[in-house]
């Protein structure tokens, strides 16, 4: 029996009839057990059990004015999840094996070998999401996950289902969100400060980059650094500026020209890196906006025959698990992702303290040194 032909769900009326009481008693049996005699309560619960009655969350939410659910929305997550360089088939391209046949489905039909790449999972968003889930479960709150293009529709749809919404924002997000802010509380992950009234959970990007700059310069004597990323995104911009400032404090100048790359982006990245190599202008270090960018850089450098860290130093940002597994292991700045997710959940649930003004929770990130910067790690 699939969704389509499921039997009609029993309601309070069915239970009331079965237990020979009124619907109010049924409701009380679940919500206000004390308001009922033991006998009737037992009778009602027994009837409910027999019928397989489950209170409709829709109806309750409607009557009660709230759903009890907390939401987590990711824009364009599928795109971000694709591995930049290896041309992993986009998720939706994969064929599903037939599920209605008998027998064992062969391993080859599962695509597991391409999908189980740690570079694709868990990413930054996945670890934050996990923290959100764990905290919601600890709070006894169901979690609603959604993903979408960031259009009005998809956000609105989610907003209508939850009591509060945490979001990984995309640049085009602002207008759609502004609309629902007065309606439900919203937490933005990793968004630069703004004058909207959303809550924020983020890290000190600039501080993290300064720590990294400090390490590269003081420990490794590096003086010529280029930034890899796409400064349009607000957190990337913060990281770029943090790097500039950190170097400035040490009397150094960041290369004015950033290697402009999308996360997916072999289109931009490969030719730019090649040009640097060909022109003999490769800097001593490529400081990347994210771990994902760094992996793409590592792959390209390897393909071009350059060694890391001997020929050029590469660093990331985020501290994903994949950064431990790359070769060489990646020096990076780790965000406390699980704590960030948990913080968002607590804010939305209203257990984070009085909310007379929007929360702006800023976590300290942490420099993690590994081999890609020349450390022994």
């Amino acid at each position: 029996m699939s969704e389509a032909d499921a039997a009609r769900r029993p309601t309070v009326y069915d239970v009331a009839q079965e237990a020979r009481v009124s619907i109010a008693s049924v409701s009380f049996a679940f919500r206000r057990p004390d308001k009922l005699s033991d006998a009737t309560r037992e009778r009602v619960l027994e009837a409910a059990r027999r019928l397989g009655y489950a209170p409709s969350a829709a109806a309750r939410g409607l009557a009660h004015g709230r759903t009890g659910t907390l939401g987590l929305h990711a824009f364009d997550l599928l795109l971000e999840r694709a591995d930049p360089l290896t041309q992993t088939p986009s998720f939706t391209d994969l064929a599903m094996p037939r599920l209605d046949a008998d027998g064992v489905i062969p391993w080859a039909q599962t695509d597991d070998d391409v999908l189980s790449d740690p570079r694709a999972f868990p990413l930054y968003v996945d670890e934050v999401q996990r923290g959100f889930e764990l905290e919601c479960w600890a709070l006894g709150r169901p979690v609603m996950l959604s993903s979408g293009a960031g259009t009005d529709v998809s956000v609105a749809d989610t907003a209508g289902r939850v009591d509060g919404l945490a979001i990984f924002p995309s640049p085009q997000t602002a207008p759609a969100l502004a609309r629902y802010a007065p309606t439900i509380p919203i937490v933005l992950f990793s968004a630069a400060p703004g004058d909207d009234h959303h809550h924020r959970v983020r890290v000190d990007n600039a501080g993290g980059m300064r720590a990294l700059a400090d390490h590269l310069v003081r420990e490794h004597g590096i003086r010529d650094i280029a930034f890899v990323g796409r400064p349009e995104a607000s957190d990337t911009a913060e990281r770029l500026i943090g790097l500039q400032d950190g170097l400035a404090d040490l009397g150094l100048l960041l290369r004015p020209q950033v290697v402009d790359a999308t996360v997916r982006g072999e289109d931009d990245l490969v030719p730019q890196l090649r040009a640097l190599i060909a022109g003999g202008r490769m800097p001593q270090a490529l400081v990347c906006a994210t771990d994902q960018h760094a992996f793409a850089v590592l792959d390209t450098l390897a393909a071009e025959g350059l060694r890391v860290p001997e020929d050029v130093v590469v660093t990331g940002f985020d501290g994903t698990l994949a950064a431990r597994l790359s070769s060489p292991p990646l020096t990076t700045v780790r965000q406390p992702m699980e704590a960030m997710g948990r913080a968002a959940a607590r804010i939305l649930a209203g257990v984070a303290g009085p909310a007379d003004r929007p929360f702006d929770v800023v976590f300290e990130p942490r420099l993690v040194v590994r081999r890609s910067c020349g450390c022994p790690g």
Copy 2:
């Protein structure tokens, strides 16, 4: 603004008033745009935008008879996530830093160093969950995540919120689930065949274990094997039997006495292993029911000064990421977890084919040889 003091959400009535039309027109403007004149439709949508109107999913679900959401329920997930031997503080014990203070929250307050253990995430359930999420997103279906003790209440609560429910069952689950089967479709992950009418998504546990037995015996000449696990769980039992049968086919006998251990279980595991060591009765190989069991075994053996694989071979089951990272890397049997999650979502969504009878989808697992069995990997 937190959940508590959010402004009242605008309704169709508000929009209707604002646009000077009836509520029916408002509904049509969203659901049946063709049924409205361009002028009024524009007027309605404009008013909706101004007010920040988002249709209430609760009301729609009530009227429409379905929520549109697919659910994933995990029993006691928090318990399972704790690291068996390192005594990681249980998640709920962790102190949350104050979120309403100004300034940057220090790294030390995030507990990230203890929480970011790959042995705790991603686990088997996390990878299956991810597959479920990806497929739901591809299908445009929101996902509802819940966790609970497996009591009637928690399952009922989830059942009332979704159109279909996928579940990681616990042994005590059956009665609660049987109740909702006629009401909504239910998919059980990794449950042995049964006469309930639930759908099933699972792997060929016995086949996986036979492949492992074959490898250990033929490649490494191992003849004395003990099983580590707790055979009460149905999938563990299947693995135990598969191992027995595999060995029997090779003319060998599994040790009759299993090392009975829970996943968390230093209580049982450590003394039993010590007894084997002390008695000089350590087998050539410890074949564990799950990767998690194997990690606990590896830790214990290391603490007792035994080398793997030189002194004793250890293997796991599941193929989690942590198995790649342990020392030595763990020989294991990988399940196609993402594919399993996706299969469940497709079944619940009704896109998996005609459902005249319950689906019983069995995937082939795959032997992954690494150093812990003596292979060079």
